[in-house]
């Protein structure tokens, strides 16, 4: 079951279906925006979206009507403010009702770890004295069988599909992450299927550490070369975070019509090839 190289269209069409639980990760760095656009273009609906920080990428998917539920731990546009599409869906059910399941970062990070590790739940020292357990039935407490200490437990995250962006794949389909690696490796290993967009496909990785953060080809489903595919997020070694876009997103998303016009122009009438220009524009 070695990874197959394919187009983004083919990857999304063959891996993601209505009603799936999908995780698109990247902790500020390497967020798979191009793949998010493709999911919107293919009109996939009723997704349960999982992501620690549902920032602009999920604001777009939610505003486009792809999601029925969001599992998250921090929902904002980092350093800018609110996610207006997320709030509009949650507070006013536009364009559709959005259910939320809220956790802390520690809970989500542990839940991905547990998912990768094949466990049904994650056990950690969390939520002590916090109020989320009152409103989220997916937070429980168990006792350490040796010390009697109370420990939090949350269900493992096991997405149907995980979508992430990485710097490189080699010709065999092994994938290399570098820099802020977030929970990407865990999210891929926790999922039934995975789509990895990459900045480039190289012959081989050259002289890298034996302990580099990698996924071997048999642990990945689909690989797609999408230069700039993380924009407005960034890919270390390739291009910088487009902070101006994150700020510009605020007024775009604040208003339903402005958002829809943006979506029409940049997503519906766009394609993965548009991202290469964004990469060029944010170099250096």
């Amino acid at each position: 079951m070695v990874a197959r190289f394919m187009s983004l269209k083919e990857a999304v069409a063959s891996c993601v279906k209505d009603g799936d639980t999908i995780s698109m990760e990247g902790f500020t760095h390497l967020i798979p925006h191009a793949a998010g656009h493709e999911i919107i273009r293919q009109g996939i609906k009723n997704l349960t979206l999982v992501r620690m920080t549902p920032d602009v990428i999920y604001d777009q998917l939610i505003g486009a009507g792809c999601a029925k539920k969001l599992i998250f731990s921090w929902g904002g546009n980092p350093g800018v403010g609110s996610l207006h599409r997320l709030r509009d869906a949650y507070e006013k059910s536009w364009p559709t009702k959005l259910e939320i399941e809220e956790h802390s970062h520690a809970a989500m990070a542990n839940a991905y770890d547990a998912g990768a590790a094949g466990l049904p739940c994650a056990v950690f020292k969390g939520y002590r004295g916090a109020e989320l357990p009152r409103v989220n039935p997916n937070i429980k407490f168990i006792e350490c069988p040796f010390t009697g200490e109370s420990l939090a437990a949350v269900p493992a995250i096991r997405p149907d599909v995980t979508v992430v962006h990485a710097q490189k794949a080699n010709k065999k389909g092994d994938v290399l992450f570098e820099g802020i690696v977030g929970v990407q490796k865990e999210a891929v290993l926790a999922a039934k299927k995975s789509i990895i967009t990459v900045e480039e496909i190289v012959d081989d990785f050259g002289d890298i550490s034996p302990n580099a953060v990698m996924l071997p080809n048999w642990a990945v489903t689909a690989i797609v070369e999408v230069p700039g595919g993380a924009h407005p997020s960034y890919a270390q070694g390739y291009y910088k975070r487009d902070n101006a876009f994150y700020k510009a997103w605020d007024p775009i998303a604040r208003d339903r019509e402005t958002f829809q016009a943006w979506l029409e122009e940049h997503v519906i009438n766009g394609g993965p090839e548009d991202f290469a220009a964004k990469r060029e524009a944010n170099k250096g």
Binding site: F27, G79, A106, A109, G126, R128, G129
Partner: protein, 257 residues
């Protein structure tokens, strides 16, 4: 006479609370400015950790997000996010957590989740992020926040992260053995928890601020220590370093922060 803004006074006071050998878990915004100011002045060896996994980072400009490339490029090491939360934060390796809040009570319990009811909120805030476990796993917690009646309330709408709970030894009743909020730095003053009751007590007032201003901007009955100090004004060096940091940041982010 040096001129400075209340926000600068707050940032400088927050920076001064940090020691050279601290290992500090840094939130974005005001905590990030204070921590980097400390690093660029009296605490050059301080270890700054961001939840994106960057350990010992030394950013030249303040990050807009918690995971800007600058943080990784200048770090001693960058680890995966599960490792950050499991080995480093939960593992008890962090001496100070630096947090802000939308709402705060006199025991240092904080709310960054919702204003109003959880299911039908007046304002839906971003949520807890790293804070619930930063608040309990770090050796101690510094809070930094501009003072206002709206933010400093008798009862917070939602306990995102534990401070001293209901006061006294309540925090320990949750099985938490860390110190919790040991300092609250605002644009008006510095408060510290009462040794027994654990409610915040004003221990230092920034120059030019009156007790009445503090009382007017606080939603609970303010307590003052028997001896209240006057906070030392920002030094020229502190202000210069802070302003240069902000100027570099604005330039790097392509516009005003």
């Amino acid at each position: 006479m040096v001129e400075y803004t209340p926000t600068e006074m707050m940032t400088v006071s927050a920076a001064r609370a940090l020691k050279n050998d601290d290992v500090c878990f840094v939130g974005i915004g005001m905590p990030s400015a204070a921590c980097n100011l400390a690093r660029l002045t009296h605490a050059p060896d301080i270890t700054l950790i961001y939840e994106s996994g960057t350990i010992g980072t030394k950013p030249d400009v303040l990050p807009l997000s918690i995971g800007d490339g600058e943080l990784c490029e200048t770090a001693v090491n960058t680890v995966a996010v599960p490792e950050m939360f499991r080995y480093w934060l939960q593992g008890g390796k962090i001496s100070v957590g630096f947090l802000g809040a939308a709402q705060l009570d006199k025991y240092g319990n904080i709310n960054t989740t919702v204003i109003g009811d959880y299911d039908n909120p007046k304002v839906r805030l971003p949520g807890g992020g790293g804070a619930p476990e930063i608040a309990t796993s770090c050796g101690e917690v510094f809070l930094v926040m501009k003072q206002s009646k709206r933010g400093f309330v008798e009862k917070i709408d939602f306990v995102t992260s534990l401070g001293h709970g209901k006061g006294g030894n309540d925090r320990a009743s949750y099985g938490v053995d860390t110190k919790g909020p040991s300092r609250l730095i605002t644009d008006l003053c510095i408060m510290e928890p009462h040794p027994e009751g654990k409610q915040f007590v004003v221990t230092s007032i920034h120059p030019g601020v009156t007790r009445e201003e503090i009382i007017e901007n606080t939603g609970w009955d303010v307590e003052f220590a028997d001896e209240v100090a006057e906070t030392a004004i920002p030094s020229e060096k502190e202000l210069q370093v802070l302003r240069e940091l902000h100027a570099r940041t604005a330039k790097a982010h392509g516009d005003q922060q």
